[in-house]
């Protein structure tokens, strides 16, 4: 397995995303039912951090196949099915100036398997804000390989942040539409009448 590429990622509102740049899905807050990562739609997933605003450490590792074994030392580990319509996806922190992290898709457009590892989220919740990379308290490792759409597998759950999120999972579908069209059947693309 090649060495993961690691960076200090700036997050806001306690979340970052796995994103295929072609996605049109709004990047909203979701932890699914596993307390760590929620699929938002094709090409978009949300990963919930403990830190509210500022830096977390993220390592990514694209692979040709599944890792041979589960890595020890992580608080939360979940495998999800992620669909990458354009054949490219990666970590997106939401900030305007994001770091250069490698493409996690090592094959064609289609389904991928993504294993998300997290540790230190409870510490991140306590400090809330991390303004310097040297003060980072939580880490992520994201490993991806070509998948087949298998259902999610929860390998490890042992942080309080996850317990809180699993107890009452935030459901982004309960929010109103982002654009108020005043009751009109307006087309977001501004095209000919629907």
């Amino acid at each position: 397995m090649p060495e993961p590429v690691t960076t200090a990622l700036s997050v806001s509102d306690g979340q970052f995303y796995l994103v295929d740049p072609s996605t049109r899905v709004p990047l909203l807050y979701s932890a699914g039912s596993n307390g760590l990562v929620g699929i938002l739609g094709d090409g978009a997933a949300c990963i919930c951090t403990g830190t509210l605003d500022g830096f977390v450490q993220v390592a990514v590792a694209p692979r040709q196949g599944p890792p041979p074994s589960l890595l020890p030392g992580w608080d939360e580990v979940v495998d999800i099915a992620f669909h990458a319509p354009s054949g490219r996806f990666g970590v997106h922190g939401g900030a305007i100036e994001g770091p250069q992290l490698p493409n996690l898709a090592d094959a064609d457009p289609g389904p991928y398997r993504v294993r998300v590892h997290a540790r230190g989220r409870d510490a991140g919740l306590g400090v809330e804000t991390v303004r310097s990379a040297s003060d980072i308290v939580e880490e992520y490792l994201i490993v991806a390989w070509p998948g087949n759409g298998d259902p999610e597998v929860v390998h490890q759950t042992r942080d309080a942040a996850g317990d809180h999120l699993r107890a009452l999972p935030p459901d982004p579908t309960g929010m109103p539409p982002l654009m108020d069209t005043g009751g009109a059947q307006a087309d977001p693309m501004g095209r000919k009448r629907p």
């Binding site: 306690g14 807050y29 997106h92 100036e97 309080a160 654009m179 108020d180 009751g183 000919k192």
Partner: protein, 440 residues
């Protein structure tokens, strides 16, 4: 004609110039004597712009094109009468209405083909109200009327006689693409009243043009380009335009446009030029977010909004995933002296203005939460209001007049992500104003 001018001027002053109204001396019945001065019959009365719109939601109203006095009904008839005294009278009729024109920087013009109206226009509720205006950040609708008259040509010792009248209702419905830089206008034309010789033969030609930088024709309906109007039968036309904003993080790179409808009416029994009235859309702003250094940032195709419309950011206290944050905002709006973001229609209402600078937003957040327990209690975030990402944040205009509470972190973060997407979809650029509305 002075009456016409005043009426129009009042409409503009009230922000209600939904369409360049054409007024006349029509009586609704055939006249046997000349009424060259304005008569009491005016186009249907228009509802004034709701106070809510005038006071706060939309701050700037585009002035409508000024009427060309030389083409008004009274002027046309006066000229014709004078001409008849010095030269032999021509045969045929003369027509008149008020003529609106305003030469501007026209970038694109589409002759709209009129199709039979199928009655399925997606007009939102409220669009049917007389003179209604902007509905949302991406939808606008307007109603107005042209009153058209046919007169006999004056002869010596024989003043002109009114031999036909028609009232033509013009509905416009504008839609902007907020996820792609296209915008369009649907125009519905319907003769709602006709008398005498105007009951047949009156034809309408509709053009919609786009003004402002870098807009181009994209699509127009392909029906009849000169359509005879029949009483009670509506016709619709449709025009669509493209904008081409460059990708930029600077507000100054946004492009501004507006659409103008030109309605031309002509009757075959007349030999003077068709009469044209025009009306403008509200100002349209199109922008495109910069692709960031992060190759995983979702692409922005650009989009357009009515930037003068100040939208409501609405949260529910009972529905969705940000109910606790909504309840806090409601308490904060009450507790702060400026009642930040609360819309009441009063002169002292203070809207919020979006702040794009993340460093300043961090300072706002730090200042607002400086008194909150540190570390936070388990499962809690410090939630601040006014929002850190506004110019009313605690380190800026809201210094000394902000509010914080400890909120369940799930709720606070769900709201933060939702609002970030709301800013993006509503294309709220730095400084853009909005209201915050909490609903049950």
């Amino acid at each position: 004609m002075k009456e016409t001018t005043r009426r129009l001027a009042r409409g503009i002053a009230a922000g209600a110039a939904a369409i360049a109204m054409v007024t006349s001396t029509a009586t609704g019945a055939l006249a046997t004597t000349t009424p060259p001065t304005p008569s009491p019959k005016a186009p249907p009365a228009r509802t004034q712009v709701p106070e809510e719109l005038k006071a706060g939601v939309q701050k700037n109203w585009r002035p409508q094109p000024k009427p060309d006095q030389t083409q008004s009904c009274s002027t046309v008839k006066e000229r014709a009468t004078k001409a008849s005294k010095t030269a032999g009278p021509k045969a045929g009729l003369i027509s008149c209405a008020d003529f609106i024109t305003s030469p501007r920087d026209i970038k694109s013009n589409i002759a709209v083909g009129l199709d039979p109206d199928d009655g399925t226009d997606p007009l939102p509720a409220g669009c049917g109200a007389l003179g209604s205006k902007i509905v949302s950040r991406v939808v606008d609708c307007q109603t107005g009327w042209v009153v058209y008259e046919l007169w006999t040509r004056p002869k010596p010792e024989e003043p002109p006689k009114l031999v036909g009248t028609a009232t033509v209702q013009v509905d416009s419905f504008d839609q902007l693409g907020w996820k792609a830089p296209h915008f369009n206008r649907t125009v519905k034309v319907k003769m709602t009243e006709a008398t005498g010789l105007a009951t047949t033969g009156l034809t309408a030609t509709v053009n919609v043009r786009c003004s402002g930088s870098k807009c181009a024709d994209d699509y127009a309906s392909g029906g009849s380009f000169q359509q005879e109007l029949l009483l009670g039968q509506p016709w619709t036309g449709f025009a669509q335009f493209n904008s081409s904003p460059i990708a930029s993080d600077s507000k100054s790179d946004a492009l501004f446009h507006f659409m103008t409808t030109s309605i031309s009416l002509h009757h075959p029994l007349t030999d003077n030029p068709p009469y044209v009235s025009e009306h403008d859309s509200e100002s349209i702003r199109c922008d495109k977010r910069l692709p960031t250094a992060d190759p995983n940032t979702p692409n922005d195709a650009g989009g357009c909004v009515f930037h003068d419309f100040w939208p409501f950011y609405t949260l529910s206290k009972t529905t969705g995933t940000a109910t606790k944050t909504a309840a806090h905002i409601e308490r904060a709006q009450i507790a702060t002296a400026n009642h930040w973001g609360l819309y009441t229609g009063g002169a002292k209402d203070k809207a919020l203005n979006r702040l794009a600078d993340e460093t300043l937003a961090n300072k706002n957040r730090t200042e607002a939460c400086k008194a909150a327990p540190n570390p936070r209690p388990t499962g809690m975030d410090c939630d601040e209001y006014p929002f850190a990402a506004t110019y009313q944040g605690a380190a800026l205009e809201g210094y000394g007049d902000s509010h914080w509470e400890l909120i369940d972190f799930r709720d606070n973060r769900a709201e933060g992500a939702y609002r970030k997407n709301w800013y993006a979809e509503n294309r709220m650029l730095d400084g853009d104003a909005f209201w915050v509305k909490i609903v049950p």
